[in-house]
Amino acid sequence: MRILHPDNTSPAQADKTSTAIHLRDVTVSYQEKPALRSVSMDVPQGEIIGVVGPNGAGKSSLVKTMLGLIQQDAGEILYFGKPIQECRQLVSYVPQTGAVDWDFPVTVLDVVMMGHFGRLGWLGRPGKKHKKAAIDALETVGMAPYRNRHIRQLSGGQQQRVFLARALCQKAEILFLDEPFGGVDASTEKAIFSLMDNLAADGHTLVVVNHDLSVLDRYDQLLLLNQHVIAYGPPREVATEENLRKTYGGHLSLLDKAEIAIKDHLR
């Protein structure tokens, strides 16, 4: 499978200062079973990348590898030219909201304050300016009025926004969002997208993992993944019926097929 680069330049030729994320031939295997084969891509700073593929396609493995949570067998991952170990604070992870216990005894502000930990270190204590930064982050995602609420009282979309605020509090340049639209209604999805647009306009680079095929055109770049890269590039060029069939194979449901067919008619 040929690996597509957005502008057909090789990674080496790409302008290093504007390339936020650089992946070359990243290969990962779980207990001898390959999960990702030779994934390469360059992500320009300030863009929103959609990572799309069926269950078991290696989307989570890719994100976890990029975050340094899983060791890759081969290949290179660089953020602004540096490996993750040298720039952890540049990169932040927004997990699926189902990943934590929402009954945990913390308030919305407490959760956002946790974003400071990476810079504060083990014995560091957050002070007034950290609190202000956390409230600013909540302001950005429109959750400041909820700061003293217990996290149990939040809806799915609000939980997602609180996680985003924590990532902003980390002052990260690159954000990984894992299924941010899970259990969220259409209007909240729209709100989260416009929030992501604002972040991208501020120079943040966002990698969004999503299995939903309905919002493909909202991304700047699309990575179609099924263990290897099926296609990578702007959605208009990449989201063709053929590519999606290759990505989803037999997993593509009739409804998904209908959706693609309708989109092809409109094109």
């Binding site: 949570l69 934590v100 945990f104 005894p105 913390v106 308030t107 946790m114 930990f117 990476g118 560091g124």
Partner: protein, 424 residues
Amino acid sequence: MHTLAQLTFEPQLWYFPFEELPEGLWTSVLVGITCGVLGCFVVLRRMALIGDALSHAILPGVVIAFLVTNNTGVWGLLLGALLAGLLTAVLINLVSHKSRTKEDSAIGIVFTALFALGLILISNLPRGTHFDLQCFVFGIPDAVNKEEMYLMGAIAAIVIGIIILLYHPLKLVSFDPLVATSMGVPVLFFHYLLMGMISATVVAGLKTTGVILVVAMVITPASAAYQLTDRFSRMLILAGFFGGLSALLGMIFAFILNAPSGPSMVLVATAIFAISMLLSPSHGYVFEKLRKLRLKRHIDGEDVLKAVYKLEQNQETATKDRIGELARLPLERLPKLFHSLSREQLLNFTEAAATLTETGRHRAIELVRSHRLWESYLAQHANIPPGDLHPHAEELEHAHELADEVDKTLGHPKHDPHGSEIPR
């Protein structure tokens, strides 16, 4: 060969030792506090089974330390227990991650194996040595000596010191380990740190409750605290307090009732837990009832204000009878409502009549406005015929903080559906 039949029931060993009161008592209180605080992490991280596992699995460590040092010196036992506790945590981690065995099964396999190994080791102790298995299993507080009390004090101070120093990373690691890892926090280190602290506390506290009941001291006070607060720091403090209190009261009851001390500490902790379930501000029965009562009184009070306002508008004297009639409240409830309204400086009243204060009149106008706005809203947006509007609006008017929003949505109407003016 020895058999488990040695585990005979000898109740006289458990009786409360009056002359040994200070050591046993203070050690128990220290164990209670430390277990309570550590228990918060166990409860929140859903590791209750691990607490049970650790307490059992330290047996071989204790026996080996006993064999090596050939006495029951506390420092040797502590080291043995710490190593055994950490080994347990590592083995559980290995079994659950390197095979398809799920964590709960892995815990079960590892701790029973280690406990069994400990029992075999005991049966092979050289002739003439006396290892008191019963003390290990059930605890004997009168066997606590000064040295052990100081040891427990040191452990309590170290554990609480570590938790205060590493409060923020411990909170992050417990709430969201995945994100903590992505920030470069060594999550596994913190896991083993907690395991180590629990092992040390359990072994130092063994003589007070024994391995079977020490789990209760870890889980129960922390669970009680969890019912009562939504803040992590408060939960830690409350759990420590409940743990210490359970130990203190448990020892006192054990003395009064001539009962074994470990079990009575556990029952006190359980009683505290039961009370906290009833009193929990968010889920508890008592506060639920209180909240409903308070809301009812608030609504009744507002109805009284509105009734007095209407009577004043009609130039009538606001007697109790007329107020009761208009507000649809039984007369015997009125004096109480009058008192609380006058405390809030909304109403003045004598035997004969009630009058509104300036603030009271404002509140009443606000209610009338809210009522009429809601009637307009319901008529426009819910298609309710004008005749049926009143009872619905009568409920909704108490949401008067939303009146401005309703007003805006409706485009600032001047009159309600019945033609009455909406006050500004």
